[in-house]
Symmetry: D2
Subunit: 320 residues, 4 copies
């Protein structure tokens, strides 16, 4: 079986998720990759409330036969905002509103708070852990505030979130994950050392063709059947405005970029920050392309994803 050159041999990874459909794909990819050691999954409210996030996360781990991975409950609301209307893009349950017959036992959730777990693990393996945050960055931000040395002890971070051309998906200028908790995004971009971001516009250009999807479905494993189930919510609307060209699994791109450099076609290291006060731009990532500020570059923005690479990696994961 051909395989991209691995960039991360035995990488220690913590996933931070608000498990919706694309988080599910990312989790499956991480869990199925022999060179990735997932130390834990921390959950956060995002697309849906954390109670549902926990349930969805266990569902994904179960299909991966990895219920042994510790799952932690994190923040149930962003640092400032109070009430967000739930986002329906992933269904009411956040995972495609399938008719699940089996109940999910959420008693497996760890008693330790996600933020404390993040701090504990990072202190246990300083300089060794890669974070892959796929939801609002609330947990990471709280960890950075609780432990001032936290940022220095993380190895690197692959975030799905933000935008770099001012294109929004929840407001005119705001991408969901960063806009959901702009203060957390701000704290994270400025507090972590080696942050790589897969922003919204990059994901817009990285739709996977439906032909690829159809090929995945032919794999016929429990994982492929699970993916078929949770994505059927979208698949029936293949002519829907935003998914006509293919299936957009934003979080999968960040996970793939973390695991394998081959998934990254173009990237640029820049100074970027988050607008916190704008009337229409609150939550937007602002990029200093021409060094107008005196700030040091703090973020690597992935501007082009190799969709073939992502597609192949995920197919292997479904097979694995």
């Amino acid at each position: 079986m051909p395989r991209d050159k691995l960039s991360a041999m035995g990488r220690k990874v913590i996933l931070d998720v608000d498990t919706g459909i694309d988080d599910a794909a990312a989790i499956i990819l991480a869990m199925s990759h022999s060179d990735v050691e997932v130390l834990g999954v921390t959950c956060v409210s995002g697309n849906i409330h954390i109670d549902k996030v926990l349930r969805n996360t266990f569902r994904v781990l179960k299909v991966c036969d990895r219920l042994n991975v510790p799952v932690f409950r994190g923040a149930d609301s962003p640092i400032l905002s109070h009430n967000r209307e739930p986002v329906c893009f992933h269904g009411n349950d956040g995972l495609g509103d399938c008719d699940w017959d089996e109940e999910i036992d959420t008693s497996l959730v760890q008693s330790e708070h996600a933020v404390n777990a993040l701090i504990r693990l990072v202190n246990k393996f300083p300089g060794e852990i890669t974070f892959v945050p796929l939801g609002p960055l609330t947990n990471i931000a709280l960890a950075l505030k609780m432990d001032p040395e936290f940022g220095k002890k993380v190895k690197d971070v692959f975030v799905m979130g933000g935008n770099y051309k001012g294109i929004g998906n929840v407001t005119m200028s705001g991408e969901f994950n960063f806009h959901s908790d702009p203060e957390a995004a701000f704290i994270s971009l400025h507090g972590l050392r080696d942050v790589t971001v897969v922003p919204w516009e990059t994901c817009m250009d990285a739709d996977l063709p439906w032909a690829t999807y159809d090929r995945w479905m032919k794999v016929e494993t429990p994982k492929s059947r699970f993916v078929e189930r949770v994505t059927s919510f979208w698949v029936v609307k293949r002519d829907f405005r935003y998914i006509r060209k293919g299936i957009r699994l934003c979080d999968l791109n960040a996970m793939a970029a973390c695991i394998n450099e081959a998934a990254i076609l173009e990237k640029q290291k820049v100074y970027a920050t988050i607008e916190l006060c704008g009337t229409v731009t609150r939550g937007q990532m602002a990029v200093d392309w021409r060094s107008h500020s005196d700030e040091t570059a703090n973020v690597t923005v992935i501007t082009k994803i190799c969709t073939e690479s992502v597609a192949r990696m995920f197919e292997e994961a479904l097979n694995g």
Copy 2:
């Protein structure tokens, strides 16, 4: 010995401090009052960095002979802001730059993080604990974000901070404690249930006359000698613009108001919030005096302090 009618019999209290001169007075008052049970002291960076705050706090506890009270290290920077120039109003060490002969053993600091301690104690005594935050509200805010039920389990809160007439002491419109961490103040005012605030303008009108101070000094106890020492930094400047009228011990007012209702001459329950985005008003507390918003009153603002009552309580504390 005459004594004001106690409003708080055996009140369980946690102090949250950035120990400067007036925090010291407040701590002495709390430690000396037989009806106050101090469960712990949580520290936060404010006037000075938390390392100095811890040292100063232990110094105060020692003179009160209360080194048995657990002291916790909390946040060392506000939620958003990075670098604040240190405030010199309390001296370089934050406690009047005295020549201390004895070293302070900070190994007594608890290993548990202040925020986790706050959460643990509030869950141990739900509905029983009174908070008295005397510095930036970072610790409280983090506790509110870590435990979504935290706010409901606190009994009540007496904060020194904010302003209600737009008068600032660090910027045109910003009072030090709230302006130091406006997001934390916002989270606290909106997340806690029963918040009483002693704002800056109230403290401006509550200077204790130098005659009172001189009376305290005649008490001649270790505590009074300690107060004499740490305040000498100001006393030598009695003709200094802001202390001509008397000594202003802001935090002492909040502590006194918490212990004894007699210290409160006027108060009003209003809806109040914190301006987070203003160009010149960032950090200002904004009060909805005429119910322009539809929000429920969330803050009791103390607008007048009984200085005689505060002076007498503190004299008793120095004697006690």
Copy 3:
């Protein structure tokens, strides 16, 4: 007839109005004072749309028998905001919703735009003209932008508007005139030379007792009957929350302060600016009481009005 010592002999004045009930009182005072030469009245949308403002203004001039004073049409909307819901405090017509039998001939309005008239007059009498803006400051701001030397050529300015303790009357923190056009207030405070402000809080403390009002009504002149008519809208609600103590004629205070220094009991020269970006404080006047900024004092804030003086001046005006 006893008379306060005049501070303004033959003062050349331009009134800038959004004629509601209290503007009417201010206009009557100005028109009736022998030492005030009103060069013109410029109108602006405020309480009501400028079409109604013009009509109301002519009505007041007519009762003063001063239809010879030129009236100019100015801005019909604030610099930024679009649609404001009309304010009902002065009635639907902005002047107490009386049943006026006579029609008002608005053809008397000058063809010259108010802003051009302001510029022309100030260039004709450089250093001689006093402005009394009693509505949003849109016209003044536009004049300042059209003629960069405008501010230097105005003698002085008495504004009714703003606040100095963060108390609002249209939002939590916004006073109507300044909040209606914060950018115009900003431009005016920073562009004019000698600005005296009568803010909302000062007016709150300057209610004229109903006994005074009753004395006015006994004057029995066309002017007093006119005032009786337009204020009857309020008078019938004497027990209404905000007018229980007396009648609040904000604009009258600014006009009185302009004409006669005796109306000013306390004032303070400070640096003040307008918050343009705040979430809850947009439009608030922020005062630098303790020189936190390095800015030069630009505004004289009147903090206490002599209500007896105002009451007497107005009674004389009704008589005159």
Copy 4:
């Protein structure tokens, strides 16, 4: 001589300029085109102070032998901002710092203010006039505020300014013309009817190759020699970072797009607004690509310019 199909037969145009090097090119194009009737040129402070703008404008008109076109003095500062450091990209005099031997007689400037001229002309030819603003939009904004019907009476507008991918050229997120006076840009985009914008990113992709420039220079007319002179400032730095690929004459693109539709390769009608309050995004144009707001599309954004078309039009202009 081949010629693109004209989209604007006998179009009545008013140019609003802060004449720098690229404004000069745009003016030459407009003045040389037989189907464009330039009713006037209104000047505004921008790259340089309006005094220099007037001088530069007359210099360009003189070389075009069109000193008969009326030139008006407009706003000398943006609506809010006070002091901007001069931008050196066009030289200290704003026009390439050439050694001009002849003096410029600025007594030709009209006595009427630019804003009043705009209003007068638009009322004289309602629905017939095209605006081409090439500097900060202060004059247009003031005209919109002085005459509430102004926006409806303008035929259409071609603006050079703003950005649509969040890329700035004076700040991280701000393009010079819009960032110089964000309030004016806001008022203009919301107050004018048919606005077409050529934003910064479009200009970044529309550099004209130096080969084209060299072809222009072979025309050998007074106009080409003038262009050679004023651009020599840049030409000597052909290897300079931003002009390596070619010469970037932003304003020329807007003028060309106005005159000839062939210059427009791609455009999109969207709702766009200006961020006024952002910490890092103030002045950014925000585009609602996915109709997150309920607002009606108000701006046509040109996203791709036909550089060949622009190059050919300008060559004809230099010849003409």
